[in-house]
Amino acid sequence: MSGITNQVGARSGVIGSGGGIGYEEGTWTPTGDVTFSGATGFYTKIGRLVTLSFAILWGSDTEGSNAQIKSLPFTAAGTNSRGGGFLSYSSDGTASSLYLGSTTTVYVKASAGAGVVTNTDLQTRDLMGVITYITA
């Protein structure tokens, strides 16, 4: 037998005899250097590849430190070349790119080639997005 379980609500499973592909889905709660006013997230992991989705209501900030998303559900296998993501919605209007800047942290950027936006830039803004990376 081969394939991946596709039942709604399936928590995990390994299909195939001897070393099949692992599958898992669940939730995670994004955090940052500022306290988010609201944050929810979902993940689906197939083998070592995990895809996260999230919705964040950014907290208030005046210090201007880099905008980061932490508490990823899995440690990444490395940085930048192992994954990244994009914002599907941002009420900020400028942030759009998500950069895997550490094995446990994603940075929010204005675009792929731009610098990191700050917590102050994003304060009280809504962000929704997707992150994909290879896990350690």
Partner: protein
């Protein structure tokens, strides 16, 4: 939530936690050695952190993070 699994990941000894929610699904998070664990953290997680998060591990993680941060802000290096 009920603790389901603790995985130790990378040389930085991240604790990859899987919990089971009240609705029966999985919830995940990763704890790093620079974090202060909450008072209501699972005792098993506290014990693993105490065991694994040595000064050597903490120093290595701090150095790694600084290197990554510098990459994000090359004008500061």
């Amino acid at each position: 939530m009920k603790l389901d699994k603790i995985e130790v990941v990378t040389d930085h000894k991240h604790l990859q936690i899987r919990e089971i929610t009240d609705s029966g699904g999985y919830h995940r998070r990763v704890l790093t050695c620079d974090q202060t664990l909450a008072d209501d953290e699972h005792q098993e997680v506290k014990d693993r952190a105490e065991e694994l998060w040595t000064d050597e591990v903490k120093t290595a993680w701090t150095t790694f993070q600084a290197e990554q941060e510098a990459r994000m802000n090359p004008e500061n290096t």
